[in-house]
Symmetry: C2
Subunit: 434 residues, 2 copies
C-alpha cells in the first residue's frame, strides 16, 4: 500500500512503501541521502547499505522508483520524518542528466523566462513551480463553488466562429471547410443570449487574441471566466456579485492554503468584503492631487494610476481590490449600457494594480443595441450577429456581467511578475511551443 | 423580494413578486391566463382586471415583466399553485412575434435539426430544451467533484499548437504571426507531461477536429474530458478509475435529478459499480454466434457490434456500460503501450451502444516511445515534440488515462439521437453559426 510523502509523519516507527521520482542525491559522511518526490512533496531517505547505494549508480534525477523503509522522526527533514533501512526498486531508470537543476528555485527574472518556458516540461517538477498551478486549480475550484452556490449554470460556447469582431482585439483567422472563420476572443455574444435561458450563466475557457505586443500583460491564449446575470436592478448588483465571488475565493484560498502561499512568497492578502468604489474621474483627481501631475488629458486610467489607486485603497480602505466606476464613453463597447453622455454603466475591477475584469451593465434594448452597433461601425445584418439580435428582439431582461482574466488573477494572487508565469504553456507573439 | 417559480408552493395565500418572461397567453371563459417563465420553471397567473389585461395588448411571447399577486393552491397548475389578483409591470416590451412556438416540444427529427439550430438562441427557452443543458452542467459538476476527491489537479493546456498530428484526426490550420499553427485536437501530449508533475491531472475543454463527415457522431468542436494518472500497477487500475467516475456521476445524477430526467424521457439507468469487460476478440465471437454472421475479417468493432454488446451486457450483466478490452494493434496510437503482438493495453468504454472513451496505458519508456513514433511515421525531431520527449527522457512513471467525450455522454445519458443536440451551438462541416 503506497504512502504519500505528506502522510509520512503518521507512520513514525513503521515500515512504509513510497513511490516517486529521484529528486536529489548527495553523499555526506559515508551516507547517501536521497530526496524522493511525489505529488504531495518530498521525502528524505538515508541509505547505508552498499547494495542499495549501488542500485543508484548512474541513475539521474527523474529516475522513477519505489522505496521501502522505516519512518524515523527527524525534525530537520521535510515533513519532520525521514526514511531509514531503505530498499530501492528502480521502475524507470534515467541515464540522461537534467539540463536544469529542479531542486533549487528556478529563475523568473525577465531575461530568464525564455529558458524557464523552454524547459517547462521538467521545470514544473520543481516543488514551488508546481505549487503555482495547484493554487491555480484551487482558485478555479473555489470560483466554481461560489457560482454554483449562486445558481449559475456552466455553459460551453463555440470557439470557432464566423466573426469574432465583437471585442475590439485582433483575432486569429482560419479556413473552416472553405469558409472564413475566426477564433473566439470571448464568449460575449453567446453568454448574453444564454441569460435569456438560464438568467445566470458562466463559462471558464480559452479565449484567443492575436496580440502583436510582447509585454508582461499580453498573451495570445488566455483562460477567461465569463459571467452574466439577468434581472438586475442596478449596476451595483453586478459589482456586488463579482466582488463577493472574488472575496469568497481569495479568503478561502488563504484560509486553506496559507502555508503554500507563504512558501511561494505570495503577498499577504489585504481585503474587505466590500471593495472601495471610485469613479474614474475621482481617481484622476485624486492621483493628480497626490502626484502633482496634470491628468486632464487622460480618458482611461494609466497603468501608473491603476497601481496608485490600489495602493491608496490598500492603505486607506484596507482593501487591495478596487472598482473604478463610470468608465468614460469612449471606452464603451457597443453592448455596454450608457449611464449618461459622458460615461457607461461599467467599472474596472482592479487588484494589486492590475485590471482583472471589466464589469458593465449590457444594453438590453433591441433597437438601442442596433443603433450602438451601427455607431461602432458593426453591421447588424452580418450573419454572425443574427442569433444574437434574435435574443434581444424576443426579450432579454436587464443584465450585466464580466470577462474575468483567470491568468491575471493567478499572477496577482501569487505576486508573479508576468502573466506568462501563471500559465502552464504560455503563448505569445514569439512563442508557440512547448 | 423576488420569488422564483419553484418556490411558489412555499407561499400559498401570500403575496409574492415574480420576474420573468411571458411564455404563453390565452383567453379562457373571459379570463386571461398567462405563463411566466423564469430560470426555475413556469408560473401560471390568472388575470381578471381589465386594466391589467390591457397592459398585455400587443405584448408578444418573450416580453420581460414583473408580476405581483396572491398565491393560490391549484393542483392543475405547474408547481401546484397559481397567481391571482395579478398586477403586471412590463420591463422589456416585445412586439415581434416568435418565429417558433417555445411552449410546445420542439422537433428533434433529423430533418428538423437545422431549423432547431437556426433558432437556438430562442429555442433554448423551451423548458425541456433548457433542461438538457442543466443536466450537462450537472454532469460536469459531478465529474469534477469525483476527480477532486481523487486527488486530480485541473489543468489548462494550449489550444494553439505548432503541430497537432498526435491523434490521427484532421486538424484545423492557421497562421500564427507568420508561423504555421494548428488547433489542438486533444491535450494528449501536454497532459502526459503533466503527470510528471502532479501524477493525476485532468482537463475539461474544447478540442478541434476538421471532420469532413456529416454524421450523427461527428462535430468539429467537442468538449473533452482528459484524464491521466501515474504510478499505475495495471491497466485495470485505469479502467477502474474511469468506471468509478462514470458510476459516481450517473448514479448521483439520477439520485438528484430523476424528475428532470423523466421529463426529458431519458432512458432509465441500468448500471453496476463494476462494468463488464470483454475482449474485442470475445465480442467478435459472441456477436458472430448470436447473429450468425462472419466477423473474422473485422479488426475494430462495427457500430452494430457496439450496440449489440451494450444490449447484451444490459440484459446479462445488468449494466449498459461495457469495456471492450485488448484493442487490436492496428488501432494503437504511438503513445499507447502494447500488450503483446496482437493487442494494445487499451480498452474502449462503451455506453448504450456508443464509444465514450478510449482508455489505454501509455508507453512510458523514452526509447520505446521514439521507436513507436517512427513506426507511426512521426518525426521525433519535430520541434513540437521536443518538450514531450523531454519529459520521458527524464523519467515518466507508468501511466494511463482517457479522452472522454462529454457531448457523447450527455447525448447517451438523455437518449438524444445526435451528438449535436447535446451541444449548445454545434459546429460541423456545414455549420459555423449561430
Amino acid at each position: 500500500m503506497r504512502v504519500l510523502s505528506n502522510e509520512l509523519k503518521d507512520h513514525i516507527n513503521s515500515e512504509v512503501h513510497l513511490e516517486g521520482w529521484l529528486h536529489k542525491k548527495r553523499l555526506l559522511g559515508g551516507l547517501t541521502f536521497i530526496n524522493l518526490r511525489d505529488r504531495k512533496g518530498i521525502v528524505q531517505a538515508v541509505i547505508k547499505d552498499k547494495a542499495e547505494v549501488d542500485k543508484l549508480k548512474g541513475m539521474q534525477i527523474g529516475t522513477v522508483m519505489e522505496i521501502d523503509g522505516q519512518v524515523v522522526e527527524e525534525p530537520r527533514a521535510p515533513g519532520g520524518a525521514e526514511l531509514h533501512d531503505v530498499r530501492i526498486k528502480v521502475i524507470v531508470p534515467v541515464s540522461y542528466e537534467m539540463p536544469i537543476e529542479i531542486d533549487k528555485p528556478l529563475s523568473h527574472k525577465p531575461d530568464n523566462l525564455d529558458t524557464l518556458f523552454e524547459h517547462r516540461a521538467i521545470g514544473l517538477r520543481n516543488i514551488n513551480e508546481a505549487k503555482v498551478f495547484l493554487i491555480r486549480s484551487e482558485l478555479l475550484r473555489l470560483i466554481r463553488q461560489f457560482l454554483y452556490n449562486n445558481d449559475f449554470v456552466e455553459i460551453q460556447t463555440p470557439k470557432l466562429v464566423g466573426n469574432a469582431a465583437e471585442g475590439g482585439a485582433e483575432v486569429f483567422k482560419l479556413d473552416y471547410f472553405g469558409k472564413p472563420a475566426s477564433l473566439a476572443q470571448s464568449p460575449q455574444l453567446y453568454k448574453q443570449v444564454m441569460v435569456g435561458v438560464f438568467e445566470r450563466v458562466f463559462e471558464i475557457g480559452p479565449a484567443f487574441r492575436a496580440e502583436p505586443s510582447a509585454t508582461t500583460r499580453h498573451v495570445s491564449e488566455v483562460t477567461m471566466l465569463d459571467i452574466e446575470m439577468a434581472f438586475i436592478k442596478s449596476h451595483d448588483e453586478v459589482l456586488n456579485m463579482v466582488q463577493d465571488m472574488l472575496y469568497f475565493t481569495l479568503t478561502n484560498l488563504w484560509a486553506n492554503h496559507s502555508e503554500e502561499l507563504r512558501q511561494l512568497k505570495a503577498p499577504e492578502l489585504v481585503i474587505k468584503p466590500s471593495f472601495p468604489r471610485y469613479s474614474m474621474k475621482q481617481i484622476h483627481e485624486m492621483y493628480q492631487e497626490a502626484n502633482k501631475v496634470d491628468m486632464s488629458a487622460e480618458i482611461d486610467l494609466t497603468p501608473d494610476e491603476e497601481r496608485w489607486i490600489c495602493e491608496y485603497a490598500k492603505e486607506h480602505d484596507g482593501c487591495e481590490a478596487v472598482f473604478a466606476t463610470d468608465l468614460p464613453k469612449p471606452k464603451m463597447k457597443f453592448y455596454h449600457k450608457a449611464k449618461d453622455d459622458k460615461s457607461a454603466q461599467s467599472a474596472d475591477l482592479l487588484f494589486r494594480g492590475l485590471e482583472l475584469a471589466t464589469v458593465p451593465v449590457r444594453e438590453n434594448g433591441y433597437e438601442d443595441l442596433i443603433r450602438q452597433m451601427k455607431e461602432a461601425g458593426i453591421d447588424p445584418d452580418d450573419e454572425s450577429f443574427r442569433f444574437y439580435l434574435q435574443a434581444f428582439k424576443h426579450g432579454l431582461p436587464p443584465h450585466g456581467g464580466c470577462g474575468f482574466g483567470i491568468d491575471r488573477l493567478v499572477e496577482k494572487t501569487l505576486g508573479l511578475g508576468n502573466i506568462k508565469e501563471a500559465i502552464l504553456f504560455p503563448r505569445d507573439i514569439n512563442r508557440l511551443s512547448p
